[in-house]
């Protein structure tokens, strides 16, 4: 830094203290959940950060108690399918709105309005819609709902990536006689690939984490998602915290894997999309 007046030592100390406190605050619940997953029931009652005699039994016991892996698989299937639905609809629409100026005002306004509306609004009507369409309690049914749910988010994330493409590039393609759909696939898609990846990741995470629709629209073992399954632990009279922590942590692994593998894309997508 080239500032002519430096921060005082107290300033730096306060900053360091705050940073350290916040990092502990952010890490603590995850660390404690992870540590609890290795505790025996007696150990849990001690309320200490680390288990006294670590046990691995909570994992197999939790898997025997609730079909954790099956529910994670359901969540992953719903998330991936919904991500495809969202992108297939949102990418061409964003391109047409930003580059062709189609419904330039209408599309941003209706996406924003649908995002602001609390999802509880859609719950009851979609419940009946899925019932009529014979998609109730199924992976495609929930994926469809999540896919539509994430359209506004996808539009606003993609918008900034599409706007960043210089106008000359696609105009040159049109003049060369390429159709608009062809331009989109051959010229635009490769250019905004990082944006598409970031948007896909964010939509997949939002779907995987979603609970309200999943809890009302899936109930059998064949389609119930992990967030719904974990909420059922809450209803039990005698909760085995060690098993609950083991199941929760397993359910968080796919998301944390994405976070670590695609950290750069995620951060880029989150910030670029929402600021502009």
């Amino acid at each position: 830094m080239t500032a002519s007046v430096q921060d005082t030592r107290t300033d730096r100390l306060i900053r360091f203290g705050f940073l350290a406190a916040m990092l502990i605050f952010f890490a603590l619940p995850i660390v404690y959940l992870f540590s609890t997953s290795f505790k025996t029931p007696d150990d849990v009652l001690q309320g200490r950060l680390l288990p006294e005699a670590a046990t691995l039994k909570n994992y197999p016991n939790a898997f025997a108690h609730v079909p954790v892996l099956r529910m994670i698989w359901n969540s992953v299937a719903v998330a991936l399918l919904s991500g495809v639905i969202t992108l297939v609809i949102a990418v061409p629409a964003t391109y047409a709105t930003i580059k062709l100026g189609a419904f330039r005002r209408t599309v941003p306004n209706i996406t924003l309005a649908s995002y602001a509306a609390p999802p509880i609004i859609a719950l009851i009507p979609l419940f009946y819609l899925l019932q009529t369409a014979q998609l109730m309690d199924s992976i495609p049914g929930l994926a469809l709902v999540h896919g539509l749910m994430n359209l506004p988010v996808a539009f606003w994330l993609l918008k900034s990536f599409v706007s960043d493409i210089p106008a000359e590039i696609d105009e040159a393609a049109w003049i060369d006689g390429a159709g608009y759909w062809h331009t989109l696939f051959a010229v635009i898609l490769p250019l905004i690939f990082p944006g598409i990846l970031a948007t896909a990741l964010i939509c997949i995470i939002l779907s995987y984490n979603e609970f309200l629709f999943a809890s009302a629209l899936t109930f059998s073992e064949a389609s119930r998602t992990i967030t719904v399954g974990m909420s059922l632990f809450q209803g039990e009279r005698l909760v085995n915290f060690g098993q609950m922590a083991a199941a929760s942590f397993t359910g968080m692994v796919p998301i944390y894997l994405i976070a670590f593998l695609f950290q750069k894309h995620l951060v880029g997508g989150l910030t670029q999309g929402s600021i502009k």
Binding site: Q6, L19, I30, G47, G179, T227, Q234, T271
Partner: protein
């Protein structure tokens, strides 16, 4: 579809036609998707709200404003809307303050900043249901980490039931919410700070102004509109909160943490009174617009002044 092309500014009529066709075919799926997800529910809700309807059988008869009347006078609905607004405004403000300060600190860090930002990202990625479980483990009366610490240091003699206490339950949910969403604010504020032109700040620094003063008098006014957008986004999201209340308190104790989304959910899926729930939902949607409108207006005002 339109039979006649608009002003033929793009080459031939054929070219304009082709363009119109592309515009429609590209945007129609999005419009249809939003019509299914937002448009159709709204129409359906209006019809439900004026009828006697339960989950199994809808539209048993037209009842006028009865559902609205009952929602306001005979249920906990208005209290739950108050809770939701209070919750949204408070957590958003706390998170904006914490997140902005943390972003300022992170933007000064030269090395290891990316590693720190990954840690900060984790709460944001965690499914809200699991956030609830993690915080339940921390705050639980038996075996909770916080109670363990307080008991061992002798600060308390009996464990505190944070989620069972009328005054502590809401702050406890706010704490969990702050844990989950402050990271989003950090990332957004970080990006906003990166966009601040350095020359103004440097000029102030050469004039001998202290960094703290530069932040308050130069940087903050510049980023105020962007910060207000972040606040607005967070308020809108916070008004949708449901999962944390469901996993942590189920609206209790009593109605202490009963927020609008949870009250509507209970009415529809526990009491099966879908007509009443629809009336509540419409009134809540109107409330959301009324609450967010002043923030939008203030944002537009600041934006214009620049």
């Amino acid at each position: 579809m339109m039979a006649t092309p608009p002003a033929a500014s793009f080459g031939s009529d054929r070219g304009a036609n082709q363009r119109k066709r592309a515009e429609w075919s590209m945007t129609l799926p999005l419009m249809a998707g939003l019509a299914i997800f937002a448009g159709y529910p709204l129409v359906y809700l209006v019809l439900l709200a004026f009828s006697r309807s339960d989950l199994g059988q809808q539209f048993q008869g037209f009842v006028g404003l009865e559902n609205f009347d009952w929602a306001l006078s005979g249920t906990n609905f208005s209290g739950s809307v108050g809770h939701a607004i209070l919750f949204a405004l408070i957590v958003s403000l706390v998170q904006l303050a914490l997140g902005l300060y943390l972003a300022v600190i992170l933007s000064k860090i030269v090395r290891g900043g990316r590693w720190l930002r990954t840690i900060v990202l984790l709460p944001l990625m965690t499914p809200p249901v699991m956030v609830g479980i993690a915080w339940k483990l921390i705050l639980n009366p038996s075996g909770g980490w916080l109670n363990g610490i307080l008991l061992r240091t002798g600060l308390i003699d009996d464990p505190i039931s944070f989620f069972g206490n009328h005054d502590l339950a809401f702050p406890a949910i706010m704490l969990a919410d702050t844990w989950q969403w402050t990271p989003l604010i950090v990332n957004l504020c970080f990006a906003i700070l990166q966009g601040v032109p350095h020359d103004v700040e440097e000029a102030a620094a050469l004039d001998g102004a202290y960094p703290k003063r530069i932040f308050w008098t130069v940087t903050l006014p510049m980023i105020a509109p962007a910060l207000l957008s972040v606040y607005l986004l967070r308020v809108i999201m916070a008004l949708k909160t449901f999962d944390l209340v469901y996993t942590l308190t189920f609206g209790g104790p009593g109605n202490a943490t009963n927020i609008a989304t949870f009250e509507i959910w209970k009415t529809a899926l526990r009491e099966f009174d879908v007509g009443l729930a629809a009336a509540q939902t419409l009134m809540f949607a109107i409330t959301v617009s009324v609450v967010t409108l002043p923030i939008v207006l203030l944002h537009n005002h600041l934006e214009k002044r620049r």
